[in-house]
Symmetry: C2
Subunit: 644 residues, 2 copies
């Protein structure tokens, strides 16, 4: 399939001849745990073709997954860990309705077109309509596989059913395979993961119906994570597009992906995404519920929402945004705002509250929600429905009133052993960012914070991946555990594949900047390895260690395309005639040749050595006439390749 | 010329039919002062085609200049202000040498090719060689104009010559036209500009030989400024390319431009840039001096440097980077660094010090330097030759030892009434940024800080405009007065025109984020105007107010290209069926129609009103079937334009 070709890491990922390849680290105590990393082999020559030899390869955190044919899905990595705990059971699952795929499909169905029907064929018709390959035989490979049933917490037993959540296990002192896996990824002891989960300071999103996911942990003591939003709307996109965006996002480092689809084929799109996702999948169930309610918030009900949540939990959604903090009394607090309510979920719930003049049913039924979440280990992402949509509205009464409500709800969820993270803004100017984290950590009892940006200015539509990467880095430094990316299309349109990449790159940068600032152990090793390669003119190592090797290499090619330039001891900034970094090398070589330290070489009494330094030929200037003896390309190479 | 066509603001800039146009504000006390702004007229319809009417236009700071034909240059706006003060004189100027345009031209000259000769023809030959138009008659329009002589401080008078610097005037209590102009641009009283200049907390770079420049002020009490680096190297670029980059940079908001050319035609390139620049021009004279020294640092001398500085001061360079803080005793401090010395100027001076085992001649001759600077009002940008080139090296002994030396030199320069700013790093992780500003402000007595980024991580070559915009925003918030941009090509190649734009956008974002965080009066008005337009679905106003209108509009077009979508009350994120922001409007309308406040509308005792809210049709859901009565595009429009 063409999709496969677009996923470079799916092809021969462990080929040892590639300088960047996927390797697996094993946990000696649990040999079934194999944790993926991207290993970068350093092979550049330091001087005169002498190989570095002893420089160890650099291992980078890897979210790209083992690769899959979208028709087949990923192998159920965690399945035996989940069933091995003996606390889950298969069951027939909720009957699938024609409405699950949205209003458009429901209308087609009335006209006799194929649509999501009973379990076993759900998604087939709509998937075909969406262009995921509709040839004969294609249907049989779709999900759920015939006879496959969802899992839930086991009903049997005299003590009633127990939560099957990682929080429950952590509190019980159990270190699960998922915790071991996540710990190995982070480079910490498994006990640290367990402790952080048990304290509610971290979550490990791992729905028992998403056994394909590679476990990861979200918490301020760990690496800062990045979420990528994908999903269609009523005016754009197909199922195939969304699966491609998923692959693209995880290839560029997405730690989780949210499917925010609101358009047609909503159930089927999600099924394809989950079955192909190596990372936890989040959703906002109210979006699908609204589709089922004909797009009318006032038609929503607890029963409709409950049914939708179970539908998604059975599919394997790992965390859900729930706007349970948008209370009736909070809505008027938005009246004087510049941008009112900008969260889609927040405004749906505000509309429902106003239409019925009743309290938000997600708030009044929060304990019922918790019971469902505990049955599948779906984590809460408590939504900030009243987040500011402009710098003028940042940190206002509406935003912080809702945050306090989310703090109350956190305690309720924890009583049910349900994992919780808290969503945050939005648009916040730089000087108001720290307060967001401080207050959130205080009123939400250190539950992990998960923020959208924030955007630090309002005036750069088209560049909001940058306006918000600034805010994201700063809020990450202050302790935010996961950053929801923003793409260049924010406020303007839905992201395409390249927008997904641009958003991911900006946010991987922000997350790594925060990791360095937090002093995460090991984070700086990556920077040091690349900077050392840069200083030693090991261009290929620099490219291979780069966050985006293709872009780094192609930019270098634009100015100096000739292959010899990749081994040259200079770059296009200064050209071959003088290089800033040579002086340091010359100085070190001079000192080494005299068997003295650099400090001694320029210390007192060294005046007489100055002439020697000159005579030694250790000039920082490389004469073009003799350059070929020291650098690979000739002057002709350079002139013919400069594109002048 | 094709260059002119590429400069949209140069054509009919004040055309009143354009929603974005250049306007001029006058100072009532000095009618010759006309300060440019970009004025954005807001014309969007709020509802049912009713014009906003009363919404005042928004004025934005404008750096693009009046536009020029590169062959003609800009009008000498400040000439009569400069001569009107009665303290300058014309003089024949330094004789131009064939070496001024670099080694390549000097070699051509030996072979009989035309080259920079005596004053009056300097630059003509090399300019032609560089492709700036070599037809007959082209030569006569080049600079310096026949008979034009440079200005310097007047020699006559019994009290000796006086400095002609803005610092000198400010200390004497004079408010110059330049100060008035800059104050009007900033929206502050002229006295504030004078005070900040007199205290050394701000500079107003304004060489008396660059009368084309529109005055601006750099200081932490003012808007954060952005510098764009351009310039050729020995392997790339032509004079025409550099003039185009200048225009492109100022169009996208560059407050100053540094010409860092090291390649051929160095004198001529600078002449073309200065004559066409509406913003102050900075340089690093040691680059040209090194060319004159055959690229051998050990061949440099005070006399050669002095001659080069005068050459550039006569041309009109407004500020120069001087690496006078790289002392012999500092060099060994870099020995254990991951990336040694990465500043080109720093490493040139380190090489000189080592070769001669003498103290840096820029340090030993600093008072002589000051006298030259005072003669033309060239400002110091005291260079950080030992800035860190990797996060590992940030805030180390080498960096801060040099900074303390720059503090000493600041006091020396101020004794000569010479303006000073201090350059800063470089590569600094987020948590070490604040210390840079605090220490700089302390040891340099609050002289303005001017930083390159800093880059907050090392591992994203190809995206260093983003890695560094994060650091730039944060260091700006802490008080840095000007940010030197970094383009996506940093570490990889020399920026082309599009890289210049990408770097500028990232840095205008960083600067504005810092302005908001510092609470600069008026900065948030821009955000509020755009956010209000966004909330009211005034798409055209949103685009016109955007930092980059073209990009915002084209991204919107990608998803919803049809013209009606530009007046639609929805966007592609949610589509026409449900819009988050509608609920706030509906709520406000509902309350207004009842003559009550929004708070009352959802207050106690309003339960009975809920039914009315529903009946009033103020649903947040817009039914596609009736959508045409409320939104411009029909469902067919959308489907045909979604590109599905």
């Amino acid at each position: 399939m063409s999709d496969r070709a677009a996923r470079p890491d799916a092809v021969s990922p462990t080929n040892p001849t590639r300088p960047r390849r996927k390797v697996y680290a094993s946990d000696p105590e649990s040999p079934t745990i194999r944790v993926p990393f991207t290993e970068v082999t350093l092979g550049g020559a330091l001087e005169d073709g002498v190989s570095l030899g002893g420089a160890p390869p650099v291992r980078l955190y890897d979210t790209s997954g083992p690769g899959s044919d979208p028709q087949e899905g990923l192998p159920p990595l965690r399945r035996h860990w989940i069933t091995g705990r003996g606390d889950v059971e298969e069951y027939p699952g909720r009957p699938v309705s024609v409405r699950d795929d949205g209003r458009a499909v429901a209308r087609q169905s009335v006209q006799g077109a194929p649509a999501a029907g009973g379990r076993g064929t759900a998604g087939a018709g709509a998937g075909a309509g969406a262009g995921m390959g509709s040839g004969p035989g294609a249907r049989s490979s779709r999900w759920p596989a015939p006879g496959r049933q969802p899992l839930r917490a086991r009903r049997a037993g005299s003590t009633g059913r127990r939560p099957v959540t990682q929080l429950h296990y952590a509190r019980a002192g159990m270190i699960t395979e998922e915790m071991r896996f996540a710990a190995l990824r982070e480079g910490v002891r498994p006990e640290i993961v367990r402790e952080e989960l048990a304290a509610g300071r971290a979550i490990l999103p791992a729905n028992i119906n998403h056994p394909e996911s590679e476990p990861m942990v979200i918490g301020r003591r760990f690496l800062v994570k990045v979420n990528a939003n994908i999903g269609n709307s009523s005016v754009t996109s197909s199922v195939a597009d969304e699966v491609e965006k998923l692959s693209w996002a995880t290839r560029w480092g997405a730690d989780t992906v949210m499917d925010l689809s609101t358009g047609p084929d909503i159930h089927t799109t999600r099924e394809w995404i989950i079955r192909n996702s190596p990372v936890p999948i989040g959703t906002v169930p109210i979006y699908q519920a609204l589709e089922k309610a004909d797009g009318r918030p006032e038609n929503l009900s607890w029963e409709l929402y409950r049914d939708t949540l179970i539908e998604q939990a059975e599919q394997g959604v790992d965390y859900v945004t729930v706007h349970a903090g948008v209370l009736l009394r909070h809505v008027p607090l938005t009246a004087d705002r510049v941008t009112g309510i900008v969260s889609r979920g927040g405004s749906i719930m505000a509309a429902w509250c106003l239409a019925h003049h009743e309290e938000n049913f997600l708030y009044t039924h929060f304990e019922d929600l918790c019971e469902i979440m505990a049955d599948y280990d779906v984590a809460f992402s408590l939504g900030d429905g009243l987040r500011p949509g402009s710098v003028a509205d940042a940190n206002d009464e509406a935003q912080f009133a809702e945050l306090r409500t989310l703090g109350e709800l956190t305690e309720v969820a924890w009583r049910h052993d349900v994992q919780v993270m808290i969503e945050g803004p939005g648009h916040v100017p730089l000087h108001k960012i720290a307060e967001n984290v401080t207050l959130q950590q205080e009123v939400c009892h250190e539950a992990p914070f998960y923020t959208l940006g924030p955007l630090t200015i309002d005036v750069a539509p088209g560049y909001d991946h940058i306006t918000s990467a600034i805010g994201a880095a700063v809020i990450g430094m202050h302790g935010t555990a996961m950053l929801c990316y923003v793409t260049p299309k924010e406020h303007l349109g839905l992201p395409d594949r390249d927008d997904v990449k641009q958003g991911m790159m900006a946010y991987k940068i922000a997350a790594h900047a925060a990791d360095l600032a937090k002093g995460h152990p090991g984070a700086q090793r990556w920077d040091d390895a690349l900077s050392k390669a840069r200083f030693e003119f090991r261009w290929e190592d620099q490219f291979n260690l780069a966050m985006d090797p293709e872009t780094a290499r192609s930019y270098h090619d634009e100015t100096l395309p000739a292959a010899p330039a990749k081994t040259a001891h200079f770059c296009s900034m200064c050209g071959p005639k003088f290089c800033s970094m040579r002086i340091s090398h010359d100085l070190r070589e001079y000192a080494a040749s005299r068997g003295i330290t650099v400090r001694a070489a320029v210390g007192d009494g060294m005046r007489e050595k100055a002439a020697e330094f000159l005579e030694a030929g250790a000039s920082v200037y490389i004469d073009p006439a003799t350059a070929s003896t020291r650098i690979a390309p000739t002057q002709d190479d350079l002139e013919s390749s400069s594109g002048a």
